[in-house]
C-alpha cells in the first residue's frame, strides 16, 4: 500500500533555512571583513595612540570612536583616523611630526574617555607609554656628525632621563661627539623630539612600543642587576685557582 504523502514539517524547514542564512551571513561577513581586520590589527609605524591607550587589540575593542578625547585635547594633537588610514576608522591617533603630545599634567584626553579605552589609572603623565622614540637614522643625525645640534635632547620633557647625551671620541679630530641616547623606561612617546628634529625628515621617530621594543632574551642576565637583586655576586668575588708550579 502506498504511503500517504507526508505533510512537510514547515517548522523544521524554516529552522534549516534560517540556520543556513545565519551561517552564510556570518561566513560572508567574516571573509569580507578579514582584510580590514588584518589591516587594523597589523603593527603600524604610522600612528601613535593617546596617553593611557590600552594595548592595541584591547583598544580597538574598547574605543567607541566618539572623539571626546580629540575634542578635549587643548593642542589639537589628536585626530580621528579616516577610512583608508592604517588605524581603525574613527579611533584617535596623532602624528608627532605634525603636532606632538604636550603632556598636559591633568591629562584631559584620558578624563574625557567614556569607556576604559584610555586607562583612567594613568594619573601621572610621565608614566605614559604612547610609544618609544628611536633614532632611526644616526648617519644623518647632526650630533653623530659632530655638530652640537642637541635639539631633540633639549626639547625632551623628560630631559636627561628619556634622552641623554653620551660623549664619545671619534678620532677624526680632537673633538668628541655627543650622541643622543633614548632610554625607553623614561620615554613617554610624546614626540617632541620627532617634531623638532631640524632635518627635512626627522632622524628620531616615535614608534609604537610593540614595534620599537623586543622582549629581553630569557637566558641572558645582566650581571650587575642580578648582583643587586641577590645582594652578592653569583660567583665568589675572587676565584681561588689551584697554584700550579713547574716542578
Amino acid at each position: 500500500m502506498a504511503q500517504a504523502p507526508q505533510k512537510p514539517n514547515l517548522a523544521r524547514r524554516r529552522f534549516i533555512a534560517d540556520s543556513g542564512k545565519a551561517v552564510s551571513i556570518v561566513a560572508l561577513l567574516g571573509f569580507g571583513l578579514q582584510p580590514v581586520i588584518n589591516q587594523a590589527q597589523a603593527k603600524s609605524v604610522n600612528y601613535i595612540r593617546p596617553p593611557g591607550a590600552l594595548p592595541e587589540a584591547d583598544f580597538s575593542a574598547a574605543c567607541v570612536r566618539c572623539g571626546l578625547c580629540v575634542q578635549d585635547c587643548p593642542y589639537d594633537t589628536l585626530s580621528l583616523a579616516e577610512y583608508g588610514q592604517v588605524a581603525a576608522a574613527g579611533t584617535p591617533v596623532f602624528e608627532a611630526r605634525k603636532v606632538p603630545c604636550e603632556m598636559c599634567e591633568d591629562i584631559p584626553c584620558v578624563k574625557a574617555c567614556p569607556t576604559n579605552a584610555l586607562d583612567k589609572t594613568l594619573t601621572n603623565i610621565d608614566d605614559a607609554e604612547m610609544g618609544t622614540a628611536v633614532l632611526i637614522d644616526q648617519e644623518h643625525c647632526l650630533n653623530f656628525l659632530g655638530l652640537r645640534c642637541d635639539v631633540c635632547y633639549r626639547v625632551c620633557p623628560v630631559i636627561d632621563k628619556a634622552i641623554t647625551l653620551q660623549m664619545q671620541r671619534i678620532g677624526r679630530s680632537k673633538h668628541a661627539v655627543f650622541l643622543p641616547v633614548v632610554h625607553a623606561d623614561h620615554c613617554t612617546g610624546c614626540g617632541k623630539c620627532e617634531q623638532s628634529c631640524v632635518l627635512d625628515e626627522s632622524a628620531i621617530v616615535v614608534l609604537p612600543r610593540d614595534v620599537a621594543r623586543v622582549s629581553s632574551a630569557e637566558h641572558y642576565r645582566v650581571g650587575w642587576d642580578e648582583k643587586q637583586k641577590r645582594g652578592k655576586s653569583f660567583l665568589p668575588e675572587v676565584l681561588d685557582l689551584p697554584d700550579r708550579r713547574p716542578k
Partner: protein, 267 residues
C-alpha cells in the same frame, strides 16, 4: 504643509542634534560633545550608544560605570519613545535614505532586488558573533551608520562617500534597502522597540478608504495591513520595525492614525 508637519519637525530634530554637536560652547557650556557613538551633555551626563556598547562587551571589554550608566539612560529613553525613533528622529543617515525614497518615487525608478527584511537581524547576529570570536569591534571598521555620523560631525570627507554610496544603493539597487533590510543598528533598536511605549495607533481605522497614501510614504509598509485589514484589525501598529516617523499620521486625510501609548495586558 499639514501633510508635512511631522516630517518638518523630524528634520528640525535631526539637524538640531547635529547643530548642537557643531555649535561648540554657548555661554561657556558645551551642549553636546562627542558624536552619536558616545557624547557628553552639558559637560555632565555621558551617553553611550547601546549597540556599540554591546559590541564592545561581547568583544570581551569591561565598560566601566560611566559608560554603563550612559547606556542605561539611552535604553530607558528609547523604551519610552520607541526604539526605532532613533532611526527616524536622530540618525542623520535617515535624511539620505528618505531623500533616496523620494527620488525613487519622483523619477519612478522601479529597480528592486529581492532581499528579505529579516536580513538585518541575521546581520546583527553576525556582527555580534564576529565581535565575540575576533575579540574586536569588527563591524565598526566598516559600519556606514557610525561612519557617516562621525564623518559629518568631525568634518571627514568619508561622510560624503558613505552618504552618496547609501543613496545610490537605495535608489538603484532596492527600495529602502539599507534602513529597511540591511542595517544592523536599526535591527538592534527594533529589539528595544518590541517593548517601546510610544506607538502609532489607529483608533479610527474604520474610516480608512483604502486610498493607499500611508503605504506610499511608510518606510516599512509591510506593517500596515494588520492594522488596516482583516476582520479584527489591531488598534495599534505592533511591529517593532515601525520607526515612529509619523508619516502615516500626517498624510492620512481621514486621520486614521495618531501617536499614543501602547496598550498593556490583553488586547
Amino acid at each position: 504643509m499639514k501633510r508635512l508637519r511631522i516630517l518638518v519637525l523630524r528634520r528640525l530634530v535631526q539637524f538640531g542634534i547635529i547643530g548642537l554637536f557643531l555649535s561648540g560652547s554657548w555661554w561657556g557650556v558645551e551642549w553636546l560633545k562627542g558624536n552619536l557613538s558616545a557624547s557628553e551633555v552639558l559637560e555632565t551626563v555621558t551617553l553611550v550608544d547601546p549597540f556599540l556598547a554591546l559590541q564592545s562587551l561581547v568583544s570581551g571589554q569591561v565598560l566601566g560605570m560611566v559608560s554603563l550608566l550612559g547606556v542605561l539612560i539611552v535604553v530607558l529613553f528609547y523604551l519610552v519613545v520607541g526604539g526605532r525613533s532613533y532611526c527616524s528622529w536622530v540618525c542623520p543617515l535617515n535624511i539620505v535614505t528618505d531623500f533616496a525614497a523620494w527620488f525613487r518615487s519622483y523619477f519612478k525608478i522601479k529597480n528592486n532586488i529581492s532581499v528579505s527584511k529579516n536580513t538585518r537581524y541575521w546581520l546583527l547576529f553576525g556582527v555580534l558573533a564576529l565581535s565575540a570570536t575576533s575579540g574586536s569591534m569588527v563591524w565598526e571598521l566598516v559600519n556606514p551608520v557610525s561612519g557617516f555620523q562621525r564623518g559629518i560631525l568631525s568634518g571627514l570627507s568619508s561622510a560624503w562617500a558613505i552618504g552618496v554610496g547609501i543613496f545610490l544603493l537605495d535608489v538603484f539597487i532596492g527600495k529602502n534597502l539599507w534602513c529597511g533590510h540591511l542595517c544592523p543598528t536599526g535591527a538592534f533598536y527594533a529589539q528595544i522597540n518590541t517593548v517601546g511605549l510610544l506607538r502609532v495607533k489607529a483608533p479610527k481605522q474604520a474610516e480608512c478608504d483604502d486610498c493607499g497614501d500611508c503605504y506610499r510614504v511608510c518606510p516599512e509598509p509591510q506593517i500596515l495591513p494588520p492594522v488596516l485589514k482583516g476582520d479584527h484589525p489591531l488598534k495599534v501598529v505592533g511591529d517593532s520595525v515601525c520607526t515612529n516617523c509619523g508619516r502615516c499620521i500626517e498624510v492620512c486625510d481621514r486621520a486614521v492614525f495618531q501617536y499614543g501609548v501602547r496598550p498593556f495586558g490583553k488586547s
